[in-house]
Amino acid sequence: MGKPPKILIVDDNQDLLFTMETFLKRNGFDVLTADDGQKGLALIKESHPDLVLLDIMMETTFSGLDVCKAVRSDADLNDIPIIGISGIGDEMGIQIDKWGDDDYFSVDEFFEKPVDREKLLERIKVRLKKGVIKRGHPDL
C-alpha cells in the first residue's frame, strides 16, 4: 500500500483550517496546513502536495488569487490540482467556476462555503485520480 495522498489546506481562518484538517485526516489523507498565502506557496514548493485546497479570498496580503497565479505560472507546479473555496461567489459577480478558461487564475474546481463535505470528498478523489494519470505519481 502506497503513502496516502498529500493535501495542503490554505485558509487564514483557524477554525476552518482545523475542521477541514480533521475531516481530511479522518478520510485517510496526509494533511498539511498553512494560514496565509505565502506560507501556502512555500509549502507547495517544498512538499509538492497532490492537491491544494485553497481559500480564495484570504485577508492576508498574499491571497488565494496570488497563490493560484504563482502556481499556474510555475512550470514545476502548474499540474498540481487546486480546489478553490470561498464565501464569495455570485453576489460579487465573480464566476469562479469559469476561471478554467483562464490559465493564469484557473482553479480546477470551486466550492462555495459552507462546503458540502461529502461532495468535496468525491471531487478530491476524482481530481487525485486525474492527477495520477496526468503525472504518473509513483506513490498513488
Binding site: F18, T19, T22, E59, G87, I88, P114, V115
Partner: protein, 370 residues
Amino acid sequence: MDHLKKMDRSQKNAPVSTQISDTLLDIGYRGIIDLLPCYLSIQDRSMNILFANENFRKDFGEGVGMPCHRVYKGRDEICATCPVRESFKDKQIHLSEENVHLSDGELAQLIVYSVPVPDMLGNVQAVMEMSTNITRVKQLQKELTFLGQSIAVLSHDMKNMLEGVQGGSYVLEEGLKDGDIALATRGWDIVKRNIGEISNIAQDILYSCKKRDIERHEVPPGEIIRDAAALFREKAAAMGIALGCYSDPSLPSANLDPAGMRRVLSNLIWNALEACKQDKAKDTHNVMVRAVFHARACCAFEVEDDGIGMDEDQLDNIFEGFYSGKGSGGTGLGLFVADKIVREHSGKIEVLSAPGKGSTFRILLPMKQS
C-alpha cells in the same frame, strides 16, 4: 413671478397665445435664461466669462470677466478636460463631468454641455456652457454601489461563520463518536464562537435598521463595562491579549440604556481585539476598558488598544455604515451602530489613533440626561 402677476393684471382679456408672447417679451430672454434651473454661461476664446445667468451667479459669485477655470476651480490653467475648448476647436457640442468649488467652498459635481455659438460667418466667437449640479445623484450612486458591495462582504462573512458552525459540529460529532472529549470540546468551542459572531452581526443589523426608543435606567457605569468585557474574556485569552477593566469608584450611576450601551462597548472591544490581532509588529497586546469622569459633567467610557492603529483616511470614514478597516473580516456596522446608539444618548464618540501605536475610543455621555 412679478412679471406673471403683471400679466394677470394688464392682459386679463387678451387671447392666451398673445398673452404668452407678450409675457415673454415682458420678461425678456435674459429673464428667461435667469430662470433656467441650471447654470448657463458664455465664454470667449480666452475662457473669460462674458455672461452668466442668475443661478450661476448665485452659486459661483459674479464671475463675469473672469476665466471660468478660476471661477470653478480657483486655478490659472485651463482644465485638462475643458469641453468649452473642445467646442472652440471642432465647433461641436461636448459633454463632460467636472468637480468644481461653489462660492461657499462646497464641492460640487457638474455635468457640463458646451455648445458653440457661431457668428454670421459661421466662426465660433463664443461657447455657451450649460451645466447641472449632479452632486446628490452621484452621492446616491456611490452609496448604492457601496451598499451592494457591502452586502456581498456581509454575505461572505456569514458564509464563513456558517462554515465554522458546520465544521465545528462535524468535529464535535467525531469527538463524541470516538469518545475523544478534547476533540469534542474543540469542536464545540468552534460552534460557540461562530454562533456568537453570527449573533453579533444579526444584532448590529437590527440596531442599524430599526428605529428604537432607548430604555434608560439608573445603572452604575462600572457594571456596564464589566458586563461587556466579560463577554470577551475568553476570546481575548485565546488571542493572547490582556483585557483589563477599570471603573472610577466615585462615578455615580448614570441614566443609560444598559443593553444599548453594552452593544456599543461590545463593538468597540471587538474592534480593539481585532486591531491587536492585525498588529504583527508586537508580541503582546493590551486592551483596557474604563469608566471615568470627563470634565466633571460627563461620564466617559474608554476602550484603548495598542494594536495596529489607523491613519487619517481611515479615521475619516470609520463611522460610515458598511465601512470596515478590517478588510473582509469586518461588516462595517460595528462603529456605525455604536455611533448611532451614543447619539441617541445625546453623547458623542471621540477617537485618538496613530498607525502602529493603537487607538482609543472615548464615549462621552452627559451625566444629567433627560
